[in-house]
């Protein structure tokens, strides 16, 4: 009996060993990195980032394990093609982990990339260390209108503004737990605010005031074009709640837009183009350059001066980080999100040289961007997945003019990026949890 048992056990063991060797040896090693979507191979992520999730590009089943070696996380990916029965063990791909901290939250708008209309939209915020997304303000709180252009000074979650469009709309100001709605169009030069820029002192906000319209090309790959008929810049003093402007940035013959302050607050940079009659027909001639106007003691002084101009690029949305300015450049116009050629450019403000931020850019539109509060990370929007729906990408910046390969904001499952029917809009870093504000905001809209 013991002998029989010994034979049985030895047979069982050899069978198990054979099975084990099959499962180990059944995988054909590949010298290539796995073909995954999104492309996370060799990206740099901050410590504590929510885990990256991905799919095989051909949709095949896969499994992976991770192994951390120093500041590099290696992903070991194995695939199993059920149809052919082939099993592949890919070369482990690295994900580099940066010690540079990132702000814990981002805020953005979610909206259908539809056209003129929307049903449900809102400003949302997301914890970067997890997949938690919460509604900051939805348009349900303001009676179904549009909420846009949210901004937080220095990423401070307790201070913010955003515009609420529609009946009874206005600009909403948050100071801690106090909320206020002001219709900018009813005070000062009677212009409504659009793109905001909060002065480093926190006292002033420069707004562009744009008359924006959409049009729809009859044929071709571009389905929407957005342009301004006119735009000017206004300044709001939060202390006195007054709105002023300056004649040289409020000219009928020019369109001034996308204001941004220098870190010291002594200059306001903005984009500017000549006004054109028949802007739709002549849209290819509308090119924005970069100018600035000095700012002293709460007022603009002197005349605007050209800071950067280029015959082949229309510049939009400058954002400054120390001596670096990140801009979006497109062939023409003021709304690069609908321009596949739109790319991000980095301007050295000390020597005036501008380079294309190649590592960040793609074949599709790469556009609206923001710096983290420490200037080490940048977040931007890109339509590289499908050319229509904007998704968010993050990249590390070394302060010397170099970015790392950007990575798609991770979701619990990559498919969320495909299944979501809304675009991410105006991503901004915030340094804390701003809370859900629908209840407070709706009180401002009670008739």
């Amino acid at each position: 009996m013991p002998r029989r048992l010994a034979i049985f056990y030895s047979l069982l063991l050899s069978a198990l060993a054979t099975l084990a060797s099959c499962s180990e040896g059944g995988y054909t090693p590949s010298g290539d990195y796995p073909p995954i979507v999104p492309d996370y191979v060799g990206v740099t992520v901050p410590e504590g980032m929510a885990p990256l999730s991905f799919e095989m590009t051909d949709g095949s089943r896969f499994s992976f394990t991770t192994e951390r070696v120093g500041d590099t996380l290696f992903y070991h990916v194995r695939t199993h093609d059920r149809k052919t029965g082939s099993r592949t063990q890919y070369k482990p791909f690295p994900v580099y982990i940066s010690k540079d901290a990132i702000d814990p939250y981002i805020a953005y708008r979610l909206i259908e990339p539809s056209y003129e209309g929307w049903k449900e939209m809102g400003l949302y915020y997301r914890e970067l260390s997890s997949y938690k997304e919460k509604a900051l303000v939805t348009n349900a709180a303001i009676g179904g209108g549009c909420v846009n252009c949210h901004t937080f000074p220095g990423g401070d979650p307790t201070r913010m503004i955003f515009h609420a469009r529609g009946e009874g709309g206005g600009t909403i100001f948050r100071e801690g737990n106090s909320f206020k709605k002001i219709n900018l169009a009813t005070i000062g030069p009677h212009k409504q605010g659009t793109y905001p820029a909060w002065h480093p002192s926190g006292r002033y906000i420069a707004f562009s005031s744009n008359s924006t319209q959409q049009s729809f090309p009859i044929v071709g790959s571009q389905q929407v074009e957005v342009y301004d008929h006119f735009s000017d810049i206004i300044l709001m003093d939060l202390q006195t709640e007054s709105v002023t402007t300056h004649p040289s940035i409020c000219e009928e013959t020019r369109m001034e837009t996308f204001p941004t302050w220098s870190p010291e607050g002594d200059r306001l940079y903005f984009c500017v183009a000549d006004s054109l009659a028949g802007v739709v027909e002549n849209r290819s001639r509308v090119r924005y350059s970069l100018e600035y106007i000095p700012f002293e003691d709460g007022a603009f002084v002197g005349e605007p001066k050209t800071f950067y101009s280029c015959d082949t690029l229309s510049l939009s949305h400058p954002r400054i980080n120390g001596k670096w300015m990140l801009l979006t450049g497109s062939a023409y116009g003021t709304f690069p999100i609908w321009h596949p050629e739109a790319d991000l450019y980095l301007l050295d403000m000390e020597d005036g040289t501008m380079i294309k931020a190649d590592l960040l850019n793609s074949q599709e539109s790469d556009s609206y961007h923001s710096w983290s509060s420490n200037g080490k990370w940048v977040i931007f929007s890109s339509r590289r997945i499908d050319g229509r729906y904007t998704r968010l990408y993050l990249s590390h910046f070394d302060g010397q003019g170099h970015f790392t390969k950007p990575f798609l904001l991770p979701q619990k499952k990559y498919s969320h990026n495909v299944l979501r029917l809304k675009s991410y809009n105006v991503p901004e870093f915030i340094t804390g949890d701003p809370g859900e504000l629908d209840k407070e905001i709706s009180k401002l809209f009670v008739k």
Binding site: G117, G220, R283, P340, E341, Q363, K412
Partner: protein, 466 residues
């Protein structure tokens, strides 16, 4: 045996009404519905009022896509409500209260745009039934035949008639039928559903009748059989922002699809989705798959396929389009900056859009005929003559109304028939002598009459300024 009379009659009645009098209404509920196993859908679904009934309703409505499933589901809901009520009310009362309640429930279901409210009621009824089953024991008595099945049967019959003749139900069914056949470009069925007499009553649907004529290439032959007074009847362009905005967006999506302008069709589909309760619908998703497949934008087509795959019933649909894409034409190229910046954009003037479509190479017979029809409706004979002169050779037989307009414009061609020439001569003579009433009787359904009595837009403006 007698206890089965009322529920059986109720089931047959509900099934037949749902199948025959509300078939397209129910199908169109699926068009506007959405049920997806995606995080965003569930987040939205739980955030709505009465989330459970909303989710159950969305789940059931997706089966309405198949015309036989919908009557079964509606019947099941009404009969379920009947049995719940039967358990709640004392047995001595027979089926009278349960038939009354179930019929009221049926009416609610028939008049609603989705079963959400009805499902909420049913859920409450089920809860009450369970409570009654636990706590209330009714005496077992045999009710009289009158309360057992005679009166309940009468209630069911009255409800059946009420629903069948209800103007709201009939109107919704007509609109749904038109919507359904337009969506599937079954133009002959649109024309069948929208006779000139029907269009007279439902003037909002006239543009759909004219669209169907365009789709059948008989616009120039038959448009004046319909109550056409202005361009708005042709292009539905003047309703933006009004209550029928949804209908106008649906119309424009179908119109531009017919004209081969996918960009504008997609534009209107997206706009349409924002007018729908859930901000997106099965119909829009399916149309987006079709339009992007037709454009060769397989990336976006695949996106919407993946979304549809998260529903219950679109597996075959998605496979079909993936196969089409795999064997289809080339991928849509991204236009160069130079090309892109020169492409004209859609305007609010449908005629301008039609002309631009032609200029961009999107030529279609329907497009040309709509241009000619627009000039006739504008009473702009010089422009009509100019365009007609260019396309005359392409016609073996010039459509009737275009011949009439040619006569009015003084164009001479051997393609104008003898009958039209004679009618024109008679018309000219009668115009001087006959009353408006007589002229309307004699020349009803001709372009001549449009020129005689319709006010030109420019004239109307001048007179209003005076």
């Amino acid at each position: 045996m007698k206890r089965t009379v009322t529920p059986s009659l109720l089931a047959v009645a509900v099934f037949l009404v749902s199948l025959l009098a509300q078939k397209y209404t129910l199908i169109c509920q699926e068009y506007d519905g959405l049920f997806l196993l995606t995080p965003d859908y569930w987040q939205r679904a739980w955030g709505q009022s009465f989330p459970i009934s909303g989710i159950v309703s969305d789940f059931l409505v997706q089966f309405f896509r198949f015309s036989l499933y919908a009557p079964f589901i509606v019947t099941a809901l009404v009969v379920a409500e009947f049995f719940c009520l039967r358990r709640i009310f004392p047995r001595a009362w027979g089926d009278v209260p349960s038939a009354l309640g179930a019929c009221a429930y049926w009416v609610i279901l028939a008049l609603s745009s989705s079963p959400k409210t009805a499902i909420a009621i049913l859920l409450i009824s089920v809860a009450l039934t369970i409570l009654f089953a636990i706590f209330v024991k009714w005496k077992k008595v045999t009710p009289s035949p009158s309360v057992q099945y005679v009166i309940p049967s009468a209630i069911v019959c009255v409800t059946l008639i009420f629903i069948c003749v209800n103007p709201h139900v009939r109107r919704t069914e007509l609109y749904s039928k038109v919507k359904h056949f337009t969506l599937y470009t079954q133009w002959d069925k649109v024309i069948d559903a929208l006779s000139p007499r029907v269009a007279e009553k439902e003037s909002e649907l006239t543009p759909f009748a004219l669209l169907a004529l365009s789709g059948s290439d008989i616009l120039g032959e038959a448009m004046f059989r319909y109550p056409v007074h202005s361009e708005a009847d042709l292009d539905m362009n003047s309703v933006d922002g009004r209550d029928d905005y949804y209908l106008s967006l649906f119309f424009k999506a179908a119109l531009y699809d017919l004209l081969g302008c996918e960009n504008e069709s997609i534009h209107n589909l997206f706009q349409l989705s924002t007018q729908q309760e859930k901000g997106m619908s099965f119909m829009v998703l399916r149309k987006l798959v079709q339009e992007y497949c037709s454009l060769g934008n397989y990336t976006l087509m695949e996106k919407y396929c993946r979304i549809l795959e998260k529903s219950t019933l679109h597996g075959q649909y998605v496979r079909h389009y993936r196969q089409l894409a795999a064997s289809g034409g080339p991928h849509q190229e991204v236009d160069s900056v130079e090309v892109r910046s020169q492409i004209p954009v859609i305007s609010h003037d449908p005629l301008y859009n039609l002309l631009k479509l032609e200029s961009m190479g999107l030529h279609s017979k329907a497009g040309v005929e709509r241009v000619l029809a627009t000039f006739i409706l504008r009473q702009d004979l010089p422009s009509f003559s100019s365009v007609m002169g260019m396309v005359l050779d392409s016609y073996d037989k010039v459509p009737l109304h275009f011949q009439e307009a040619m006569m009015l414009a003084g164009m001479d061609s051997d393609k104008i028939t003898k009958e039209v020439r004679e009618m024109f001569e008679n018309f000219m003579m009668d115009a001087m002598m006959s009353s408006q009433e007589k002229m309307e009787q004699k020349y009803h359904g001709t372009a001549f009459l449009h020129f005689l009595f319709s006010e030109r837009a420019e004239d109307a403006e001048v007179s209003s300024e005076d």
